[in-house]
């Protein structure tokens, strides 16, 4: 029995009802699934991880790129590319003037909190509140393109979709942002979807990954 439960907090993940078997740890004033008792080998094979409570933020406008640079964040050169900071934050460029910053698992999102403490430029830079609008689900392991091919029409194989690529497309018939990245050298597809559809996408992805031995993992499995 986990001492920390999602119900211990008023802020909860959008898929917390799907995580009843997890051991939780506190992340950013909410419970994040830390351990599912299947470990690192499951993450390397095929895992799905809920990172919805991890802090994230975004900025849009002509001055959004310079705002990120002032915060010492890397700015991807082109839209639909992602960069990783030394600390592990992901910086997504979703269009010429729109950026999202996703918190690092290692520091529980403290880096994003620091970015949010900075004042915005006087004009042409607007904050995007993607913490509550979007869920953050991460697929891990060796079969990512094959799993996604069952629910998504875009070619996500490594030749067409290398590390650092972003695809904004429907998957399982709902709109998602798919980011190809690595955490501790584990291949990851992070997916950001409408929070209202999070449970649906969670169940759909679990169904798609079943034939590859996919299971729910906790954040400890990444280290």
């Amino acid at each position: 029995m986990s001492a920390i439960t999602p119900e211990s907090f008023s802020k909860r993940s959008f898929v917390y009802r799907q995580l009843s078997d997890a051991e939780f740890s506190e992340v950013a004033g909410a419970a994040q699934a830390a351990d599912m008792k299947n470990g690192h080998s499951q993450a390397l094979k095929a895992g799905i991880l809920d990172l919805s409570v991890l802090p994230r933020t975004g900025f849009r406008g002509l001055n959004a790129a310079s705002h990120l640079q002032a915060a010492d964040l890397p700015v991807p050169a082109k839209p639909n590319q992602a960069s990783v900071t030394d600390n592990g934050e992901l910086v997504l460029r979703l269009s010429q003037k729109e950026f999202w910053v996703l918190g690092a698992v290692a520091d529980l999102g403290a880096g994003v909190d620091a970015v949010n403490q900075r004042g915005l430029p006087e004009k042409d830079c607007y904050a995007l509140y993607n913490q509550d609008s979007h869920a953050w689900l991460t697929l891990t392991g060796a079969h990512l393109p094959a799993i996604m091919a069952k629910v998504c029409g875009v070619d996500l194989r490594a030749e067409a979709f290398p590390v650092g690529s972003i695809a904004q497309t429907p998957a399982a018939r709902i709109n998602v942002v798919v980011v190809h990245h690595q955490i501790n050298e584990i291949p990851c597809f992070s997916m950001l979807c409408d929070s209202a559809a999070a449970e649906y996408l969670w169940v759909s992805l679990l169904d798609a990954m079943a034939e590859f031995g996919g299971e729910v993992i906790g954040s400890n499995a990444l280290s």
Binding site: P79, N80, L94, S95, Q96, G153, V154, A167, Q168, T169, P170, N175, V176, V177
Partner: protein, 102 residues
């Protein structure tokens, strides 16, 4: 499946896109007649031939412009709206108030 070349996301299935109507010059709302404004808002030319249209890539919320032949349904070119719209269109509060009271 028909493929639309999105300027932001590359070639994608046409089912990812939503048609947004013809690209037209907006008459000045403070000086034009009601008839001109109604024509701008409600009517379309529905021309046979090459038309310039708004399209939305729904998954990324990205609006762009496509030149399409309405007879052959061939997509000739797609591009970012910044090629045509160089500055933000502002509507002043004064002109809005005048329109309402008139």
């Amino acid at each position: 499946m028909k493929i639309m070349p999105c300027p932001l996301n590359g070639p994608r299935n046409i089912s990812e896109f939503v048609h947004g109507g013809e690209v037209r010059d907006m008459p000045n709302p403070t000086t034009c007649s009601d008839k001109e404004w109604a024509e701008y808002v409600f009517y379309s030319d529905n021309q046979a031939g090459v038309v310039t249209e708004w399209w939305l890539h729904a998954a990324s919320g990205y609006w762009f412009i496509a030149e399409r032949h309405t007879v052959t349904d061939e997509i000739i070119r797609t591009y970012d709206p910044s090629e045509i719209f160089k500055a933000r269109v502002e509507f002043s509060a004064e002109s809005t108030a005048q329109e309402v009271s008139a």
